[in-house]
Symmetry: C2
Subunit: 351 residues, 2 copies
Amino acid sequence: MNHLGSELGSVCIIGNGLIGGSLLRDLAARGVRVFGSTHSEAAAARAVAEGFEVSSSLIDVLSRAESELALIVVAVPFDAVASVLDAIAEHSPSCGVTDVVSVKAPVLELVAQRGMRERYVGGHPMAGTAESGWAATQTGLFQGAAWVVAYDYARECAGAGPSAGQGAGGRVPDSWVRVFGQVCRMVALVGAEAVPVTARKHDETVARISHLPHVIAEALAVTGDRGGPMAQSLAAGSFAGATRVAGTRPALVGNMCETNATPLVEVLDEYIALLNDARATLAGNPPSMQALAEAGHTAHERMSARSGARRESVSPVAVSSRPVMRVHPGAPGWVAQLEQIEALGGRVEVF
Amino acid sequence: MNHLGSELGSVCIIGNGLIGGSLLRDLAARGVRVFGSTHSEAAAARAVAEGFEVSSSLIDVLSRAESELALIVVAVPFDAVASVLDAIAEHSPSCGVTDVVSVKAPVLELVAQRGMRERYVGGHPMAGTAESGWAATQTGLFQGAAWVVAYDYARECAGAGPSAGQGAGGRVPDSWVRVFGQVCRMVALVGAEAVPVTARKHDETVARISHLPHVIAEALAVTGDRGGPMAQSLAAGSFAGATRVAGTRPALVGNMCETNATPLVEVLDEYIALLNDARATLAGNPPSMQALAEAGHTAHERMSARSGARRESVSPVAVSSRPVMRVHPGAPGWVAQLEQIEALGGRVEVF
């Protein structure tokens, strides 16, 4: 048994926003050697004043990452990812790379274009607030959250399908296996749960449970507001809850949805079809909404069963509701194990 | 100056669910002589065991209401309202009547069919939880909530329009003026804020800010659930918040939406049009969602400005964000005052 990936080592975080900055705080608090860069000198100065190793020179930081063989976490908005990957290709040719961008297939494409797939493992922590920027960063942001780990490259190397990776683990390059292990260890260190998913499945899923909710909250805010002062006066908790994410910066919402436009348009079509059906039965004689109300209630019970289990725990140690599988990266059959975990929406612990 | 309506007197609550039961608790706690009825003997026994005067005999309760000239609060589901009004017509011919049903025009129609408009003032507290029934009742449920008070009859008597009620207050029957005062006093006693609205405006507004959110939450729950175990695993706080009201009993949601179907279909059409627009720009090249994201954010800021002011108060006495006007029911010009308050989404205090 080899021990590739058994060490996390240094971590280099590019970007100091809500996710990158909160990750920096958590890793530093756990004693990890962590440093990073931000595009703004003022932002770097604020982080340095709090005792963090943050610089506004991307090249300096990437050079240091190379010398320490650090794991590089790309935590910039999607439209800045290509140029950061270019800089990594030039200044950190030996480092493993992951990211925290909210779409995975488009990032994977940029990585492939630069021939970096053997050392890239996509990531996406399902955590955040309506706020953004260093000022919004906090410790513990990722506690109990799913942290998607995209393993497309391993599937392709091992051969996709039900028997994928059976005795063929050796075909996944060691460099990728090592990065996979590093990412999973980093995720565990900040209290999150590594959920293996392919990029396409991830993008379709977040279109359903993250991007679609943003679109419909924006549209609901507009529709409510058209009701004028009386709507403002009568709107109660249910309206506020349903439109909370419309408080997110519009540019952030726009970029997120636009980057995942293809899967989002598909689920938006599904969603609009459901509303059209409800509209038709409500306009009927007699009006009816029983079908949607019952389907929605059943779906809600199923969707909240897992988070419900997490919420109701009275144990001081949070109990995860995601099934867990312990995996040794690179061991025979390990990619097939990841596929089994994905089918369950489960989490992986590496050893 | 007369003092019609300066006394609340006894209150008789028909129906012992979340709203009726919580109102019973609050009024009893404030020393009001309050009694009521529920359709089930078991439910009545539970309330009696807690020290409340609740009976399962509607006729007994309505006869007592008549003898005490109590204000009758109809707190039953809409489909039971007609038969309760019939019983009131027979057993409580002298009592003022209000209700807490979530639509106002259909109730007003039932009242008009029975010739009871002169003693009926429609009501709707904008408060509730996803739970229902006596077990879910609580004290303080209405604190700071808007409590709609429908004043259509006064407008019609005084003559609608900008000069309504100028010097014509006498034309609104004394019986109605007295009930209006009683309802406003009861609302103030439980910490809620009386917001005067016409039935039609109320029904259109709640379609926007209450019933539409229910429809879209049900449809979102269904769409998310179609993502299977991975969607269950990755769904985070934003999904849970956006679908919370899908946890409400389906029959309750169905009845509420169906009773207000006409205004709801209209706002649903508005809403679907917004989604279709977003779908079109997201399917464009390049995809865009900036227009909706910006409109939604602006609308959200406006909608949350008032509730924000309430939430952020550090004063031990909650500060209302609704403009207030003090009105003496029946005084010259008082109906015109109510129209001014309605235009602001404000609240009325009676003296």
